[in-house]
Assembly symmetry: C2
Homo-oligomer: 593 residues x 2
């Protein structure tokens, strides 16, 4: 592409709403332009990266027998009502009526549509397995879109769906997609982790997320420093610092419970200080409602209490899963806590409550501990489980922390501890089971003629998000450093003296020669100063840059610069193509992190 | 693709709502499946055809310097309000509120978004020209979607937009896109015409439609039997049977106008019969309202009358253009005619009306003619223009007919007459001028620093519609006959005795060999009878079919069948690939209609 003929404009400053480096860089490089919050036009450079990524995805999926289809973005309510997700998906699903007054939504995901698609075709076990995918534009009405393509409303996604006769087959397809995703993200050259995760509202019992490591990531990951275990903090087991430590078998004698005044001591911190004990020896109590308050016809509070060590935090996803809910329960307001317990937050505890108390496993052996008295400015000491209050369930309800033992290492008798990372979720694989096939009547006949629900899996890659995640992970102060697999162009030629015929000609020859070798080349033939061109080349971040100017050409020389390492080499003009091909090969091979 | 592993199901019967052959065939071949009226999932075969078509489009546009971008489907109301199309587009534009209560629509076209996109970038004449395009999913809330992809609600479109400093530049870009479209549709091997057309609500003054000829087409075309002139009947000039015939200079003497009773004679037909004259010598009068009745605050009727020969029909598009409206005027109801004229339809005419009368050019020289008297069951004879009523304007207001003289031939003193065809509009090119740039403030600075509105053009290709149009034009009683340029597969191998190891092996070798030659191959390796496979192969319609079975292989022979001509050739198995490559080359060359 010749820059002088292209619609390609760089900006000195990023828009005000760009908070993270990748968003700023994409906007400055003209790769995305905001049309509305969370909605962007992709410029040519971004689209080239997207197309390259799509090609990689297609190659890896097609070679594994998946088959591409294309489903619509506008979807009828009837299909979503069959699975009850018309209600369950909440406001993230954008709903509207068409001109005839019929209810539709914009596809945020396609489980319903694909299940409808296959249920008419698949009749017998002979029609299974199947694996269908699409690369398509989706819309989720995010409350607070931000970070550019990272949490946009309209986005490009690859979603695949597998159909099998039984769980064994479904898990085989799961593994196949897992391997495809590994191959895809390896080819991109990204530093990523495959993590344990929560299945969320999509349903399903087995799931992994593919997370690109980057400081601006919205996900918090626990990654083992010894083995390959990694988990989203949402589900990371919290084993404490030493999982293999034996629990003391000798319990101290239970003392008599007594109240004591704690005026002004409303936080665990101040209470610990006043008592002269560490926070982790105190028990704090949090209150949630099982009633989500989303159904206007039932606004009553259905409280539960959750007790955990003073320095731990409740993990809402773990709590949701323990309670068997589809969404995390709602934290009570201060006013609701007062109503439920008789005291304002800070003086509440598990004793004397009329509703269930859930207890974090880390403190299940605590004895003679301190809790709020459910009377303002008063606490209880020497409190004990069973004697003073009943526990509905002990479970791992807390957030894991860096330094906690890795569960895989613990199981295999190794020393291994969590490290904390931020991640950008770019892919996920789900084993769905029969959630959708059962509710939508997608069955097949077994060999003996029994109608049986089809086993399903679903597999997503955030195509547009991955492009930005790659930039978030791979950039420097000057601009983007494209991973080679998705760089919009392989080579960026900076024509330094475009007013000189000889330079223009040499650049043109190199431009054509590189293209003839199958490379994608951006020729900066604009009438601009060298400094401007260098700045723009750094900003756009193609893997290799060629500087071609009058001074070098006098000696038959051009400069080849590796964007990532800034290694600069002077090369004979006639050997430039060969040199560039060799360098790109090296970059490609080095790309596999 | 191996059929045994693919999700590919053919149907014996088409769905009930499929009215035309292409819709039936696409549904039966599993290429499309309805999700909601006008909304389809594309199966793998259709998607392959679409991708091949998109590749052709990209090659032809990129080689002409157009640059691909991707705009969003969800668009904010604000942009559409700037051009007033938020109102003007009516109910075809699907509007909704997002979760924050902001107004959005689904993109039915992208003039507003692209103009917004470039107005921030283009500052000076040096930034022009530009030509940007996208291939994207659009949504139009059609009142009555039908004919499958032909008039769907959700569809795939290629839309391009050009930006120039002046009209000369814009027309150059127009010609460039015109040539690109010719190249694109030539490569598809379609029988199509480039026709004069109405610009419709998009604005603009120069436009051509690319129409694929097919009986099921929704557009009515007038195509010259002598030269290359063709026009949508909406705008086809109506010159009569002999355009070069001299108008009689001698006018007969004007007779005295008189009324006569015509009880029961309410149509031109019965009146002509009663008077014993041909219908074309009578003048009929039609009534329309300039007030469209779309604005609820003003429901008054603003009538006009249109007079034309008894056997002609009013052309609403011509009338719209003569009146300078953006939509055709509304025909009055019988009740409204009665109110406006004093008589029920059948006895109305131009004499004594209090509102404007428009007169078709074909009858401007009529004298002493018969019209309705504006009194029920009464007509007037010996009526004359000017003496008995005033004409607001003479103009070509009627529908052209087959046999009418071709205007281009008439101008160049040739004999040439219209033939009537049906067409499917698959592409259009528009010169827009400054309609959008002016209303949206998209200006550039000229060399002397004057802010000037950018000259625009827009260019569309209905990608999904074209695929079906190709099938509508190219099929037979057994199924699809794919034009080679967009055939999902080049070759269809029917394995006739899949239970025999030798046949399976030979088929496999051929399958791999053809793929190694860069061909797309569908291998029908299902455990089905030969008859089923032949029927399905005919239905799916790939250009070439190879029959490979035990009987032929005994003699080292396979059969190669050309789908279009049904020419069947016995070929040595080891020479099959070479033969197939040669045949495909012939088909490709023959494809340019």
């Amino acid at each position: 592409m010749r820059w002088s003929k292209a619609h390609l404009f760089t900006l000195k400053d990023a828009p005000n709403d760009a908070e993270i480096p990748s968003h700023k860089l994409m906007a400055r490089a003209g790769m995305i332009k905001k049309v509305a919050p969370g909605i962007y036009t992709y410029g040519n450079l971004a689209l080239r990266a997207i197309r390259k990524f799509e090609k990689i995805i297609r190659e890896e999926l097609d070679s594994r027998g998946a088959q591409e289809v294309l489903m619509p973005m506008v979807q009828p309510a009837e299909l979503w009502q069959e699975t009850n997700r018309w209600k369950e998906m909440g406001d993230g699903l954008l709903k509207f009526k068409n001109r005839n007054g019929h209810d539709f939504c914009l596809g945020a995901t396609h489980e319903e549509v694909i299940t409808d698609y296959i249920r008419h075709d698949i009749k017998s076990y002979r029609d299974l397995p199947a694996n269908l995918y699409q690369i398509q534009t989706k819309y989720r009405d995010e409350i607070r879109p931000r970070f550019g393509l990272m949490r946009g409303r309209e986005f490009i996604m690859k979603d695949a769906y597998s159909f099998d006769a039984d769980e064994a087959g479904a898990l085989k397809n799961y593994d196949l997609m897992y391997s495809a995703y590994k191959a895809i993200f390896d080819r991109l050259g990204l530093n990523y982790r495959i993590v344990e995760a929560d299945a969320g509202s999509i349903g399903g019992s087995k799931t992994n997320e593919f997370q690109v490591l980057a400081d601006a990531g919205e996900d918090h990951l626990m990654v083992c420093d010894t083995c390959d275990f990694a988990a989203n903090v949402e589900v990371a087991p919290a084993l404490g610092q030493n999982a293999n430590e034996k629990v003391k078998s000798q319990k101290p004698a239970l003392l008599a419970m007594e109240a004591f005044a704690t005026p002004g001591l409303k936080s665990i911190g101040t209470l610990a200080k006043s008592l002269g004990v560490p926070e982790q020896t105190l028990v704090k109590t949090m209150f949630f409602s099982l009633n989500m308050g989303t159904d206007a016809s039932d606004v009553s509070v259905k409280p539960i209490a959750v007790c955990l060590a003073g320095d731990d935090e409740v993990n809402p996803i773990k709590l949701k899963n323990v309670l068997g809910l589809s969404n995390p329960p709602r934290l009570l307001t201060d006013q609701e806590v007062k109503q439920a317990t008789g005291a304002w937050p800070g003086s509440c505890g598990p004793v004397g409550l009329s509703f269930p108390v859930y207890f974090d496993g880390a403190i299940q052996d605590f004895t003679n501990f301190v809790v709020g008295a459910n009377r303002d400015a008063e606490h209880l000491k020497n409190v004990n489980i069973d004697r003073d209050f009943k526990v509905a369930k002990f479970a791992d309800l807390r957030m894991a922390k860096p330094g906690h033992a890795c569960p895989k290492c613990a199981k295999e008798n190794r020393e291994g501890h969590y490290q904390s990372f931020r991640g950008i979720e770019v892919g996920h694989v789900f084993y769905l089971g029969t959630k959708y096939s059962k509710s939508m009547g997608a069955t097949y006949l077994t060999a003996d003629g029994t109608p049986t629900p089809i086993e399903m899996g679903c597999y997503g890659i955030g195509v547009s998000r991955t492009i930005q995640a790659a930039i978030e992970q791979s950039h420097d102060k000057d601009g983007v450093v494209w991973p080679h697999g998705i760089a919009p162009f392989d080579v960026h030629i900076a024509v330094l003296d475009p007013d000189q015929e000889e330079v223009r000609q040499s650049a043109e020859i190199l431009y054509r020669d590189l293209q003839a070798h199958g490379l994608d080349v951006l020729l900066d033939d604009r009438d601009e100063r060298a400094g401007v061109k260098f700045k723009d080349a750094d900003l756009l971040g193609m893997p290799l840059r060629v500087n071609i100017g009058a001074r070098g050409l006098k000696d038959g020389i051009v400069e080849v610069l590796v964007r990532k390492t800034r290694a600069l080499e002077k090369v004979k003009a006639e050997e430039a193509t060969e040199k560039i091909a060799a360098l790109l090969k090296g970059i490609r091979l080095g790309g596999k992190a």
